[in-house]
C-alpha cells in the first residue's frame, strides 16, 4: 500500500461508508509530523474496538497508531491476546500470527518486503502481549534480536494473561495473586528490557502509557532506529483494570502510581552508541527542518 493508492474510484465514492471517505480525506497517511495531537482533529487509524471501557491498552493502541512515522508503509504483526480484538479495526496492514510466533513472522516479512520493494522503506512493527512476547514466544523474540532483524517489538505488559481470566505470566510481579494464580507469583518479574539490551536491541524503553507525548517519542525513535540499525524493543505497561480489581476510570492513576522512580515501571531506557548518534543526527535534522519551515511561514506572512 502507498498513500497514492488510498483513493476511492470516483464512480464508487457515493456508496462508500463515511468512515472510508474519512480515511481518504482526513487521515494522516503521508503526513510528516504526525503524532498524538492529531487525535480528535483527524481521522484515527483505529475504528471502534471491543476492548473493555477504560482499558489502557486501547489508549496505547491509539497513541501508537497516531505516532507511526509511515503507517501507509508499515505492516504490524499481532499475536493472540486482547490486541487481536483490535487489529481487525485498524487501518494499517496487519498480520495475526500464531501465539508466540510474531517475531519469527516479522523476520520473514521484513526480509520479504525488502526483496519485493527494494529501495523503498517498509516498516514492520510487532505488537503483542506479555504472554506472547516473554512466555510462549520468548524463543522467537530473542532469536529475532540475536539475528539483528530490523523491526520494532512492542510488548503490552499487563503482567498476566488477561484474555483468559488471569493466569500468571513471566512479567507478573513477584507475590501477585491473580484470579487463576491463587498461590501468588513465586519468582521475580522477568527483566526483559535488560535481556533486550544484552540481546542486541539498539533502543529499549520501558514505560507506562500515561503520557501520550512520551509514547509518541519512543514509538517514533524505535521505528526509525529499527529501520536503520537493528532491533528495538518497547515494553509498555497497560494494566488490565479488570484483573487487578480496578474500575474503568482508574487505569490512568494505576499507571501514574506504577511509574514513580521507585516503582517497577519507572522509565528505563537503553540506547546503543550507534543509535545515540543516529538519534542525535535525526534531532538536528528535525530542528533544521522546523526552523526552515518557520522561516518560510514568516516570509509568506510578510509577503
Amino acid at each position: 500500500m502507498s498513500k497514492e493508492r488510498i483513493k476511492i474510484a470516483p464512480e464508487m465514492y457515493d456508496i462508500m461508508p463515511p468512515e472510508y471517505q474519512d480515511l481518504v480525506n482526513r487521515a494522516t497517511y503521508g503526513k510528516e509530523d504526525r503524532g498524538w495531537k492529531d487525535i480528535g482533529t483527524t481521522k484515527e487509524l483505529i475504528e471502534e474496538h471491543s476492548l473493555c471501557a477504560g482499558c489502557p491498552e486501547s489508549m496505547a493502541f491509539r497513541y501508537i497508531l497516531a505516532s507511526l512515522p509511515a503507517p501507509e508503509d508499515t505492516v504490524m504483526v499481532g499475536s493472540t491476546g486482547c490486541t487481536s480484538l483490535v487489529f481487525p479495526m485498524v487501518a494499517v496492514h496487519n498480520i495475526h500470527s500464531l501465539f508466540g510466533n510474531q517475531n519469527a513472522i516479522a523476520s520473514g516479512l521484513k526480509r520479504a518486503l525488502s526483496v519485493r520493494f527494494p529501495g523503498k522503506v517498509k516498516d514492520v512493527v510487532v505488537l503483542a502481549g506479555d504472554g506472547a512476547t516473554v512466555d510462549i514466544g520468548l524463543d522467537m523474540t530473542l532469536q529475532a534480536w540475536f539475528r539483528q532483524e530490523k523491526f520494532t517489538t512492542i510488548c503490552f505488559d499487563n503482567e498476566l494473561y488477561a484474555n483468559t481470566g488471569g493466569q500468571e505470566s513471566g512479567l507478573m510481579q513477584k507475590g501477585f495473586v491473580a484470579k487463576m494464580a491463587p498461590v501468588g507469583k513465586q519468582f521475580d518479574k522477568v527483566r526483559l528490557p535488560e535481556i533486550a539490551r544484552e540481546s542486541g536491541c539498539h533502543y529499549v524503553v520501558q514505560c507506562t502509557v500515561s503520557k501520550p507525548s512520551l509514547i509518541e517519542k519512543v514509538v517514533r525513535n524505535a521505528v526509525l532506529v529499527a529501520r536503520e540499525l537493528g532491533p528495538t524493543y518497547l515494553q509498555l505497561y497497560t494494566p488490565c483494570i479488570l484483573e487487578i480489581g480496578k474500575n474503568s476510570m482508574e487505569g490512568l492513576q494505576e499507571m501514574r502510581d506504577s511509574e514513580k522512580p521507585t516503582e517497577r515501571f519507572a522509565y528505563k531506557e537503553f540506547v546503543s552508541e550507534p543509535a545515540k548518534q543516529f538519534l542525535a543526527e535525526l534531532a538536528a535534522k528535525d530542528k533544521e527542518r522546523k526552523a526552515a519551515s518557520k522561516q518560510l511561514a514568516g516570509s509568506t506572512q510578510e509577503a
Partner: protein, 205 residues
C-alpha cells in the same frame, strides 16, 4: 460426472465446498451455471435473466474495484456503475436494484451497518436485511469471495453470480471468469436487450 448442483440455499449451516462435490471451474471462454459448464454467451443471458427476475438485484463491488489503485480498476468501476444504472433502468418499479460495497475484509465487530455495506465474514446479514434475492460479486479477492459465497449458500436463498477476474468460483450459482470492463459492459447490454422479455413475478420471489 457429479450429480451435485450449486443451487440457491439455504443449504445448511456448513455447506460443502462445491469443489469437494466434484464441481470444476470453467476453462477460458466458458462459465458455469449451477456447476454445469456452459459457453460464456449462455451465462450472459442467464445472469441478465436472474437480475431482471429478482426483487432486489444487487451488485457487491469489492476492494479491487472500489479503490482506484490502477487504471484497470478505475475502468472496471466505471463499467460496474454503468451495469448498476442499466439494471435500475430495466427493472420494474416493484423491483429495487442496489449497489452495496465491500470496502475491505476486516471483520467489523461489534457493529456493521448491513444497509450500507457487506462484510465477507457475515454477508448473510446484508442479504437478510435488504431482502436481496440475486447478487453479483465483482472485485472481491477470491479467497474472501469463496468464504462469502459459501456462507450465502448456507444461510440464505439468494442467487449468487461471481464476475471473477481469475478462474471463477465453484461456490457461486453462476460464475464468469477472466472478468474485464468489457465483459461487464456486455452483461449490461444483454440486460438491456432482454428488458421486457423476462417477467418479474413478485410471488415467485
Amino acid at each position: 460426472m457429479t450429480q451435485y448442483r450449486v443451487l440457491p440455499g439455504p443449504e445448511h449451516f456448513l455447506p460443502p465446498a462445491a469443489a469437494s462435490m466434484g464441481i470444476r471451474l470453467p476453462n477460458p471462454g466458458e462459465a458455469h451455471i449451477n456447476g454445469v459448464i456452459v459457453p460464456e454467451e449462455q451465462a450472459y443471458e442467464e445472469a441478465a435473466r436472474q437480475f431482471l427476475m429478482a426483487k432486489v438485484p444487487t451488485i457487491f463491488p469489492g476492494p479491487l474495484v472500489l479503490w482506484a489503485w490502477n487504471e484497470k480498476a478505475a475502468k472496471k468501476a466505471t463499467a460496474i456503475r454503468h451495469l448498476y444504472e442499466t439494471i435500475k433502468e430495466c427493472v420494474t418499479p416493484q423491483q429495487q436494484a442496489m449497489l452495496i460495497p465491500m470496502p475491505d475484509y476486516r471483520p467489523k465487530y461489534p457493529k456493521i451497518n448491513p444497509e450500507v455495506e457487506i462484510n465477507p465474514n457475515h454477508p448473510n446479514l446484508t442479504i437478510w436485511h435488504n431482502k436481496i434475492d440475486a447478487c453479483m460479486f465483482v472485485g472481491v479477492h477470491c479467497h474472501q469471495a469463496n468464504l462469502s459465497l459459501k456462507i450465502i449458500r448456507g444461510g440464505t436463498s439468494c442467487y449468487t453470480i461471481a464476475m471473477c477476474a481469475q478462474a471463477g468460483h465453484e461456490d457461486a450459482m453462476m460464475s464468469f471468469r477472466d472478468a474485464t470492463a468489457e465483459k461487464i459492459m456486455k452483461l449490461a447490454d444483454t440486460i438491456k436487450r432482454l428488458k421486457g422479455s423476462v417477467k418479474f413475478d413478485p410471488k415467485k420471489r
